[in-house]
């Protein structure tokens, strides 16, 4: 019931944000001397204009954004500022790519799960580096995860020119995943793949885990008040935080593996158009609620799909949409500050 209310609340907020985003976009378009109506209509068409746009542009982008957004939510809920979903996603995709070669000939129901699990574990291991640095040496994870993003980026660049390069050694990318191991397409003639179902299951799972299990509660308690968690709850705070690093990395790695098996079918240098960074916005707009992440990921998926269409059809640079995304985040963060909390009204 509370979950439904949270989901409905987020959806309502997302609709308000969408309207605000369109208004801001209109202002920006006027300011930069573009024709508003054709640009906006190109954008709306690109995101929602057709069956194909909805399924193959918007929802397809929502999948990695939601998984990485869940990764960020879990970390932030534990008080860990994991800015490294991007790197964890790349490492997850790279690991799935690496294992795919050994899976040729395996049935899809073995091969795909193996790739997803290996990708998730690689993402978890990548986050665990930052976790160990934080808990053993006190290195702030904000710094270490950003740095590990660069490492993952260059690692990917090297892999697609070296060990994972396609057999002809011409293009800097991996071999295309054999069709038998590609994520099943849900609707014939679209790019909509089974990953969207997986995302929903994972979001519900994360929500249930945080809400209903002892370890999920420990994670939330550590994020809310670490000293109270240790003193009143007898919680092993470092251990709980390390667990949160791991789970966050697992989810981001899974995002990479799903994107590889579901959309790109290959690893290349610019594999992710910044999904791991946009995921931070996705998580914050959802107020770190796992089910809310589904709604905000859809919003950002639509914005990015629309931005591409706008650039292609109306000649408006898609960075305009990036500006709007950034403004949205600022708006939401500021609105949270301004709104007097119920606690203040009740007094002490």
């Amino acid at each position: 019931m509370t979950a439904w209310r949270a989901f409905a609340g987020t959806t309502a907020r997302v609709l308000v944000l969408l309207a605000t985003a369109i208004a801001m976009l209109a202002v920006l378009l006027i300011a930069t001397g573009h024709d508003v109506v054709p640009a906006l209509s190109a954008m709306v068409r690109g995101a929602f204009g057709s069956y194909y746009a909805i399924t193959s542009a918007t929802i397809v982008r929502m999948v990695p954004l939601a998984l990485a957004g869940l990764a960020v939510s879990v970390a932030f809920r534990a008080g860990i500022l994991n800015i490294g979903a991007e790197g964890q996603l790349l490492v997850g995709a790279a690991a799935a790519t690496a294992i795919s070669g050994t899976l040729v000939g395996a049935p899809w129901f073995i091969g795909i799960p193996v790739m997803l699990v290996v990708g998730a574990m690689a993402g978890g291991a990548w986050a665990a580096i930052a976790g160990a640095l934080r808990l053993r040496f006190g290195v702030l994870e904000v710094i270490s995860t950003i740095m590990l993003n660069f490492v993952a980026q260059y690692l990917t660049g090297w892999l697609v020119r070296g060990p994972l390069q396609e057999p002809t050694r011409v293009n800097p990318q991996s071999a295309t995943l054999v069709p038998e191991l590609q994520m099943p397409v849900l609707l014939e003639g679209t790019r909509l793949h089974a990953g969207v179902l997986l995302v929903m299951v994972v979001a519900i799972g994360v929500w249930w885990w945080l809400r209903s299990t002892a370890s999920g509660f420990r994670l939330r308690a550590v994020g809310a008040a670490p000293t109270a968690a240790a003193s009143a709850g007898g919680i092993d705070v470092p251990r709980t935080m390390f667990g949160a690093f791991l789970v966050s990395g697992l989810l981001a790695g899974l995002a990479g593996a799903v994107e590889y098996t579901g959309i790109t079918y290959a690893l290349y240098e610019n594999f992710s158009p910044g999904y791991g960074f946009t995921a931070i916005a996705v998580a914050l707009l959802a107020r770190l609620h796992p089910l809310g992440v589904l709604a905000t990921a859809l919003l950002f998926g639509a914005l990015e799909a629309g931005a591409n269409a706008m650039q292609r059809d109306a000649g408006v640079p898609s960075v305009v949409v990036s500006v709007v995304e950034a403004l949205l985040i600022l708006l939401v963060l500021a609105a949270d500050r301004w709104r007097p909390s119920r606690a203040d009204e009740a007094g002490t």
Binding site: S212, T213, R218, A221, A228, A229, G233, R342, T348
Partner: protein
């Protein structure tokens, strides 16, 4: 800069009154500091010592009263105005930037360009002239606490101050460092400067000070030359001398349980020592037993080691040495419930579930926690809209009752309570006291520390004073306990104990 002859009054405060909301922290306080003297400003926790000096340093504005500097009336609106006059202050909690070097920290308050070599030279000059050892290039975070304090002092001296205010400077220091600091203070004053030493360590004050001013509940109750007084008289003044009768709450009337036998020992410490990160022994070889069915009260001034002792007793801190026998789960009600006991933005039933969260496995049955929380709210009379209310929306008293109730339900054998009525009104205090007595009567071993000695004496069956990490058994008398806590003198208490029997 004009010089003030040694012995002339440098700073004079008269009738200073300051209230925080409707709490009067200072009530017509007065103080006179002579050039060339060390002036000890003494008082219990919350007597107004720090508040008075924050007024002098421009961090607070007095609502009434007159402040004079070298005989001329002044108003100080900010610390920079105070520094311009020649008044510097070293706070109890240092205000240094840990990642910066000593020289950078000291240059921070200045203007214009920063020249590292010039800044380092300045530090060397000032520190050298003052006889303080300090490496200008060292990073503050790498320095031991004593050197950080020297950095704070040099920071003030670099601004040419004539009057240095030191707030509890020896609290963080190891004994040898403290002796060294006091010697330095003496020398600095003898050179014609003045020092105000805020402390609750009587021995330090009497050893180094020329003049003594004692505050009690915001009023100046004693002004004297140090050589004309002794520990007992100063302690009496700190405890209020002819004080107003203690505020008693309804249930306190029925608290005489003298002679009631208590049960087997539940909490046992044997030669327990706790050493902090700076190598200072906060708890020194404490041996004690708390039995089932008794309330043991502890009186102490801030920083005497009670913080660590209570956490050792409740299993939240592992002693550095010594042996400890405590039950598996000891209830603990910490002083700072917002930081140490509650998830403020979580519903009450989750706050109940926090107890024992570390060892819990599997899926949590939240409905059972909701039911248990509702029962707890009823049983301990916690006023809240229900188990789903956020902890933040409760008043301080209701938060305290919730924490107390939660801990009592979980721990059947022992309970450790730190300042149980901090921030609570009469009614809530009464309820908390009743709950503590009920726990005792139900056979629990209860330890209560309170900064309010009246509360210690009213609640406890046996009382201890804690002084400088040592625990001293005392008789159940506020003044005897207070003297033992201030002076660390068991003799006083022992004499009184004999007189008692």
């Amino acid at each position: 800069m004009t010089t003030t002859p040694t012995g002339a009054v440098l700073l004079s405060l008269d009738g200073i009154t300051h209230a925080f909301g409707h709490v009067r922290a200072l009530e017509s306080a007065s103080l006179q500091v002579r050039a060339g003297s060390v002036h000890a400003l003494l008082g219990e926790n919350g007597a107004g010592k720090t508040t008075l000096m924050r007024v002098v340093f421009g961090l607070l504005r007095a609502q009434q009263g007159m402040m004079r500097w070298r005989g001329l009336p002044i108003t100080v609106r900010s610390p920079s105005e105070a520094l311009a006059l020649g008044v510097g202050m070293v706070h109890q909690h240092f205000t240094l930037v840990p990642t910066m070097t000593v020289a950078e920290n000291i240059a921070l308050g200045g203007h214009g360009a920063f020249d590292p070599r010039h800044a380092a030279d300045r530090v060397r000059d000032v520190a050298g002239a003052a006889g303080l050892m300090l490496d200008p290039q060292a990073r503050v975070q790498d320095l031991p606490i004593g050197a950080q304090q020297r950095c704070e002092i040099v920071k003030a001296l670099a601004r040419d101050v004539r009057l240095l205010i030191l707030d509890e400077p020896t609290a963080v220091l190891a004994p040898a460092e403290a002796v060294e600091l006091l010697r330095w203070i003496r020398g600095y004053a003898d050179a014609g400067n003045a020092v105000v030493l805020i402390t609750h360590k009587l021995r330090d004050a009497l050893a180094v000070a020329d003049d003594i001013t004692v505050l009690h509940r915001g009023r100046t109750v004693l002004t004297t030359a140090a050589r004309d007084t002794d520990q007992a008289r100063v302690a009496d003044a700190m405890l209020g001398g002819t004080r107003a009768p203690a505020t008693r709450v309804a249930s306190d009337v029925v608290n005489d349980r003298a002679g009631v036998a208590s049960g087997p020992p539940v909490l046992t410490l044997n030669a327990v020592t706790v050493r902090d990160a700076n190598g200072v022994d906060r708890v020194r070889a404490v041996t004690m037993q708390v039995c089932a069915g008794e309330i043991v009260g502890i009186g102490a001034v801030e920083g005497a080691g009670q913080y660590e002792l209570l956490r050792v007793l409740s299993g939240r801190l592992t002693p550095t040495s010594g042996t400890r026998t405590i039950p598996g789960s000891v209830g603990f009600v910490p002083e700072d419930r917002h930081r140490d006991a509650l998830l403020l933005d979580a519903p009450l039933f989750e706050n109940t579930a926090l107890q024992g969260a570390g060892a819990r496995q599997g899926v949590i049955d939240w409905n059972s926690f909701r039911t248990r929380t509702s029962a707890l709210l009823q049983r301990f009379d916690v006023r809240a809209s229900g188990a789903d209310a956020r902890a933040r929306t409760l008043s301080g008293g209701n938060q305290q009752k919730l924490v107390l109730g939660r801990e009592l339900e979980a721990a059947r054998e022992a309970l450790v309570v730190e300042n149980p009525s901090r921030g609570l009104d009469f009614v809530a205090t009464d309820a908390v006291h009743q709950a503590l007595r009920a726990a005792r009567d139900a056979g629990m071993a209860v330890v209560v520390y309170s900064s309010d000695l009246d509360e210690v004496v009213l609640l406890a069956d046996r009382v201890f004073a804690m002084h400088d990490g040592a625990l001293i058994e005392s008789v159940k008398n506020r003044d005897v306990l207070g003297r033992a806590m201030l002076s660390g003198d068991a003799g006083d208490a022992a004499v009184a104990m004999e007189a008692d029997t």
